[in-house]
C-alpha cells in the first residue's frame, strides 16, 4: 500500500464525491418530482427539496397507477412490478439453466457438429430483438403465446451472453479436475452437478444480475405482445403513461414509478455487488 500525501488524498476524495454527485443528482431530482403535486412540477424552478406528497403519490402509483393505465380498470405499479419480476426472473432462470447445459457440452465433449452448433448459438449476439421483431411476433402468435408469460420470456431467453461467459470460465478449470473425476469413475453428469456447477457460482451470480437487469429493462418486445393490461410490465406502464397525447402526462406519478422501477434492480446489483463484479471481470476478460 502506498500512502498518498494529504493534498493528493483530498484531491482523490474531492473528485470521487463529484463522480458520485453526477450519479445521484439526476436521480435526486426525479425523486423530488415524485414527492410533489403535479402543478408544482411546472413551477420555475421546480422545488429543490422533497415535498410532502410522498405517501399520496406512491400510494397512487402502486395501487391505482395514473393516467394512461386505463381509468377505472387501471392497474398500479404493484401489478406491473410483479409482471416485470416474473418476466426478468423467467428469463434469468431459463437462460442460465439452458446455457450451463449447452456450454458444458461444448467445452467438455468432442463430437461432430460441435463447432457449427457453437457458432449457431454465437450468432444470436449479432441481431438484437428489434431487428427480427415482426417475424418473431408472427411465430409467437401462431404458437398462441400472445399475452402470456412464456411469450414474454422465451424469445428473450435466446442470447449468447451466458454461453459466452460460461465458456470463458469453464476454460480456466484445470484439466486435472476432469482427469480426477474420470479416474474416480464419475460420469459426466456427476462431474457437472457435483463439481462444475458448484465451482461456477461466481459466473452464475454475475449472470443472475446481468440477465435479470436485461429482462427487467425490456421495452419493445413486451410492448408488442401484451395487449391485456394485466400483463403490463413496469417499462410498458411507463411508456403508456408518457404517451398522454394531447392531454397532460401525470409527471409526478411517472416519476414515482420511475423510482419504483429502479429499486429492485439496484438492490440486486448492489446486494450481489461482490460476486457480480468478480464473475464479470474474471470470466469476461
Amino acid at each position: 500500500m502506498i500512502f498518498d500525501s494529504t493534498p493528493t488524498r483530498v484531491f482523490r476524495h474531492f473528485f470521487l464525491v463529484i463522480g458520485c454527485l453526477i450519479v445521484i443528482v439526476p436521480i435526486y431530482f426525479v425523486f423530488v418530482a415524485s414527492t410533489i403535486p403535479l402543478p408544482a412540477i411546472f413551477q420555475r424552478p421546480m422545488p429543490l427539496l422533497p415535498g410532502s406528497e410522498v405517501i399520496q403519490n406512491y400510494y397512487q402509483a402502486i395501487f391505482h397507477g395514473g393516467r394512461g393505465l386505463g381509468g377505472a380498470r387501471a392497474i398500479g405499479a404493484g401489478v406491473m412490478l410483479q409482471n416485470s419480476f416474473i418476466m426478468a426472473g423467467g428469463i434469468t432462470v431459463a437462460k442460465i439453466v439452458v446455457s450451463l447445459l449447452s456450454t458444458f457440452a461444448i467445452v467438455f465433449f468432442r463430437f461432430p457438429g460441435r463447432s457449427i452448433l457453437f457458432w449457431l448459438i454465437f450468432m444470436t449476439l449479432m441481431l438484437p430483438v428489434e431487428v427480427r421483431i415482426v417475424p418473431t411476433y408472427g411465430l409467437v402468435s401462431s404458437l398462441g403465446m400472445l399475452n402470456s408469460y412464456v411469450g414474454l420470456i422465451l424469445p428473450l431467453a435466446v442470447s449468447a451472453t451466458a454461453t459466452f461467459l460460461f465458456k470463458q470460465y469453464f476454460m480456466t478449470i484445470p484439466d486435472q479436475l476432469v482427469e480426477a473425476a474420470k479416474i474416480d469413475g464419475a460420469g459426466p453428469m456427476r462431474f457437472f452437478s457435483y463439481i462444475l456447477v458448484p465451482m461456477s457460482r461466481t459466473p452464475i451470480a454475475a449472470l443472475v444480475v446481468i440477465q435479470f437487469v436485461y429482462g427487467w429493462n425490456q421495452y419493445l418486445w413486451p410492448l408488442l405482445i401484451t395487449t391485456e393490461r394485466r400483463f403490463y410490465t413496469v417499462m410498458i406502464g411507463l411508456g403508456r403513461m408518457l404517451n398522454a397525447g394531447d392531454a397532460q402526462a401525470d409527471w409526478h406519478i411517472i416519476m414515482a414509478i420511475t423510482i419504483l422501477s429502479m429499486i429492485p434492480t439496484m438492490l440486486l446489483v448492489l446486494g450481489m455487488q461482490k460476486s457480480f463484479v468478480k464473475g464479470l471481470t474474471e470470466a469476461d476478460k
Partner: protein, 295 residues
C-alpha cells in the same frame, strides 16, 4: 475452430441432449425469424404482406443511395466514439482515484455502479424530464446562465444530450472493469516506482495505464457494440432521431423505417448492413478473447 478442453468426456449421445434445449430455443426464436427478416431485404412488400415482389438488391441500392442513411452511419460511429471515449475516460479517472482510497473505495463503488441497474428507457425518461426546454430543471438553470437549451431544434444539443444520457448509465460498467483491472496490478510494481520517486500521476501513466491496455481494448469493443444496439430506448425517449435526423443511429433507423413507417424491405436491408458492421466488431472481440485463453 472453437476451443475446448484437451481432456474431455467420451459420450456419443449426451452432448446432443445437453445442447438440445439451447439449440431448440435458438432455432425457433432466433434462426427462423431472423432468416425471415433477412429475406425481406430482397423483396418489395406492402405493409400487410399481401404482395411480394423479388427485387434483388433493390432495397440495398435504395438505402445506400439515401444520403440520410449514410449520414446515420456516421452518426452511429460518432456516437459510439463519443460515448466510448467519455465513459472510458471518466471511468478510468474515477477508478484510479477509488483504487487508492483503501476500504472507503467500496462506498464510492456502490454509488458509481448503481446506474448499471437503471433501464435505458428510464434513463431516457429521466434526462428528458431534466432537460426539457419547458419543464426541465437543468434546462432552467442553463437558461439563467444565459444558455438557450432547445434540443428539439439545435442538432449539437440533441447529440450531446443522447451522449450524456447514455454515458451516465454506461460509466458504471467501465468503472467496474477498470477498478478490477487495477486491483490485479501487483502492489510491488507500484511500490518500487514510488520508491524511485514517481508521483501518483507519473505512476499512473508509466505503469497502470499500459498494464490496463487489454481492459481498454476490451471495453472499447464492448462499448461500441453497446452503443450500436442498446442505446435505442434513450434515443427513442429523448429525441426520436431528430432534429433533422441528427441523432438517428442505424438501429434507430431500422426501428423507425420498419416499425413506424412500415417499410419492411428497407428496414431489413438496413439490418443486414448493420449485421455486417457488428460482425466485424464481434469477430475482433472473439479473436481477442479466444487468444487470451492461451496467455
Amino acid at each position: 475452430m472453437v476451443t475446448g478442453k484437451s481432456v474431455v468426456f467420451k459420450n456419443k449421445g449426451l452432448p446432443y441432449v445437453l445442447l438440445a434445449p439451447e439449440v431448440a430455443l435458438t432455432a425457433v426464436f432466433f434462426i427462423v425469424p431472423a432468416v425471415q427478416a433477412l429475406l425481406m431485404a430482397f423483396y418489395r412488400e406492402d405493409a400487410f404482406g399481401l404482395s411480394r415482389v423479388f427485387i434483388g438488391l433493390g432495397n440495398f441500392e435504395r438505402v445506400l443511395s439515401d444520403v440520410r442513411y449514410v449520414q446515420s452511419i456516421w452518426t452511429t460511429l460518432g456516437f459510439s466514439v463519443a460515448v466510448a471515449v467519455l465513459t472510458m475516460v471518466l471511468a478510468l479517472f474515477f477508478a484510479s482515484l477509488a483504487n487508492n482510497v483503501g476500504k472507503k473505495a467500496i462506498y464510492y463503488q456502490t454509488i458509481i455502479i448503481s446506474p448499471y441497474a437503471v433501464a435505458p428507457l428510464v434513463a431516457g425518461v429521466m434526462w428528458f424530464f431534466l432537460m426539457s426546454p419547458a419543464v426541465g430543471v437543468v434546462a432552467y438553470f442553463l437558461r439563467t446562465l444565459g444558455i438557450t437549451w432547445n434540443h428539439s431544434i439545435i442538432p449539437w444539443q440533441a447529440f450531446t444530450l443522447v451522449v450524456v444520457a447514455s454515458s451516465w448509465q454506461r460509466i458504471a460498467y467501465n468503472f467496474l472493469f477498470y477498478l478490477a483491472g487495477m486491483q490485479m496490478i501487483p502492489d510491488s510494481l507500484l511500490e518500487s516506482a514510488a520508491i524511485d520517486g514517481s508521483g501518483p500521476v507519473s505512476r499512473f501513466w508509466r505503469i497502470t495505464f499500459p498494464l490496463l491496455s487489454p481492459t481498454t481494448f476490451f471495453l472499447a469493443i464492448v462499448n461500441t457494440i453497446y452503443v450500436f444496439f442498446y442505446t435505442f430506448p434513450v434515443i427513442h425517449t429523448l429525441t426520436e432521431g431528430g432534429p433533422n435526423n441528427s441523432t438517428a443511429t442505424m438501429v434507430y433507423r431500422i426501428y423507425r423505417d420498419g416499425f413506424r413507417s412500415l417499410d419492411y424491405g428497407g428496414s431489413s436491408a438496413q439490418s443486414v448492413i448493420l449485421m455486417a458492421f457488428v460482425m466485424v466488431f464481434v469477430l475482433i472481440q472473439f479473436r481477442y478473447v479466444e487468444r487470451r485463453v492461451y496467455y
